[in-house]
Amino acid sequence: MTANSPSEQELLEMHRRMVLTRCLEETLGEMHKAGRTRGPIHRCDGQEAVGVGATAALAAEDFVTTTHRGHAVYLGRGLDPRRVVAEIFGRETGYCAGRGGHMLLGDVETGMLGGNAIVGASIPAATGMALSMQLQGAARVALAVFGDGAAQTGICHESMNIAALWRLPVVFLLEHNAYGLTVHHSAQSSVPELSARAAGYGMPGETIDGNDVVAVFQAVAQAVQRARRGDGPSLIEARTYRLEGFSTSDMGGYQPEDEIAKWRARDPIMLSRARLAEALGAARVAACEAAARAEMDAAFETALADPMPGFTPHAPSAPYSEPPDGGGR
């Protein structure tokens, strides 16, 4: 046990949140097939350990930014499943009253600021929050979750350089799921291990097993401590895999079957379940999972009955209206 080892209670809670996320993804998959979703949905089945393990290592007052594939971060951060589902279905009761959708969900209360559908944008976003914290003298850390595709963007480089230069309290968590949209990382990245780039900024970098929620928790916890101490950023590359394709509009065909099978055999929820069953007994784990499943089912039921928002031009759209008496169409 290191200082960063989660307690059994914490482990069970992480497991619960991973299951919650998986239930969300699977139900969204069904809803999509039934023609009941709108716009593309980016499921994170198989990657739950990254978002959940990482957010579990944050303090309540910390910030986290994520990508278009942020469901595990939302639920890992403790957001209310009902309001998450409501947002995904564009309901008035969603975190953003239906204005954001699943990719642009933000919640000030929990510092989940937020999902971001511009690839790479979560990186400078967290870096800016970290700068604000440093200037305010606050011991608050910002965690940036981003993909392997995002690591090739210019803002990734600029942000890492600035964060390292100023020793900003930010943690860069690269969620490496092997693909950027349909393109394999070997056709996007000039190096197989992206953590190698940390040396170019003089910050620590490591590659970890992103399907092991404990490994993610520990690596992020250590990086968060370092950041909170004022020692600056770290880069953590968590290797994982996207089991269900890029999004609901993915036509597939580019992820080899054997590759999928290999990773399915290392499903993070299975791994976590096995570990927990040994420690706490299979029954307790099963009960926890059933409760999570029930919670998500209830979330869907309530959220889908919630009303759609009505269009009210000037609240909170006031700063946008131009000219003042109406603008628009």
């Binding site: 716009g39 954001g100 642009l104 349909t182 996007q188 209206s321 628009g328």
Partner: protein, 324 residues
């Protein structure tokens, strides 16, 4: 003649031009193995190998590379997946592409095409539904086209590829499945800078771009019910403008509505309205009516999104205001 989808017509144009001219190459995110997320480049990698390349997610650099690859003798066709990402291309467009032909006193030309698609209506959210036409149309030295029919898609893409200067080629996510006749036997490129008369009418001129042309047609149907004969003109080329077609129509109808799916303030409709005033002031019986996307981010929920992006009803209402 063959019936084909808009996306297929684009694909045909790319195939034809790549077969015709070795210097044409296609690059962008997911364009090779997968054939593009809207399947416009499907099969090209099989046919043309290395001349079709999947790229890292690096729009800024890809655009800058298109500029200089064009200078160095290639004819790049770059796909930027969503028009929402055009801001990432703008530095290369404004500070590089716009500059060299004139500043280097005609030493270089830059025959590249930047294809992208914009527009909303399907719940893609604030970062994947915008039309930023005005931003690219503002840049001197760029041509900007936005075909609506499959035939125009093919003809104008061919023209864009053959043009010695940079062309921004604006598609729309809701047009890709539109079917139409394409004259396969006629493989001549179209002419950039010519508007298309969609429907004649003597009471009011509706000038529209991209998918808004379809909404304008619906609006014209609606207006016809009230005995109002609307002329609908598809501008096709946002820059350069077909001034002759615009002024001739306004001279006939004395009323104009301009429609573009971008934001209103400092948007493309502002240029259209100002140009019409400038060129046809004495012909105008009423101010030019502008129909544009509301000046705000595009919300996700359907109930909100449909209030923000213009539709046939908004266009018809504008025409009625013009005639009131």
């Amino acid at each position: 003649m063959a019936m084909m989808r808009y996306a297929e017509a684009l694909n045909l144009a790319l195939r034809e031009e790549m077969a015709r001219d070795d210097s044409v190459f296609v690059f962008g995110e997911d364009v090779a193995a997968y054939g593009g997320v809207f399947k416009v480049t499907q099969g090209l990698a099989e046919a043309f190998g290395d001349r079709v390349r999947d790229t890292p997610i690096s729009e800024q650099t890809l655009t800058a590379m298109a500029v200089t690859a064009a200078m160095a003798g290639s004819r790049p066709v770059l796909e930027i997946m969503y028009a929402d990402f055009l801001p990432l291309s703008l530095d290369a467009l404004i500070n590089q592409a716009s500059v060299y032909h004139y500043i280097w006193n005609g030493q270089v030309s830059m025959p590249f095409v930047l294809r992208t698609q914009g527009g909303g209506g399907v719940g893609t959210g604030a970062q994947h539904a915008k039309s930023l036409d005005a931003m690219v149309a503002h840049v001197p030295g760029l041509k900007v086209v936005a075909p609506v029919t499959p035939a125009d898609a093919r003809a104008l893409l061919k023209a864009a590829i053959r043009d010695p200067h940079p062309v921004i080629f604006l598609e729309h996510k809701l047009l890709y499945n539109l079917r139409g006749e394409v004259p396969e036997e006629d493989d001549a490129p179209g002419e950039i800078g010519r508007a298309r008369l969609v429907r004649e009418g003597g009471d009011v001129s509706i000038f529209a771009t991209s998918r808004m042309v379809l909404e304008a047609e619906k609006a014209a149907d609606d207006l016809a019910g009230d005995g109002i004969a609307a002329e609908v003109i598809d501008l096709r080329s946002l820059r350069p403008l077909d001034l002759g077609a615009i002024t001739a129509s306004v001279a006939k109808t004395n009323h104009a509505v301009v429609v573009n799916e971008g934001w209103r303030f400092c948007g493309y409709t502002a240029e259209l309205a100002a140009t019409i005033m400038d060129r046809a002031f004495d012909d105008l019986d009423a101010p030019v009516e502008r129909v544009a996307t509301r000046d705000m981010p595009i919300p996700y929920a359907e109930t909100l999104e449909r209030e923000v992006i213009p539709d046939a009803a908004a266009i018809a209402a504008a025409a009625r205001r013009a005639l009131a």
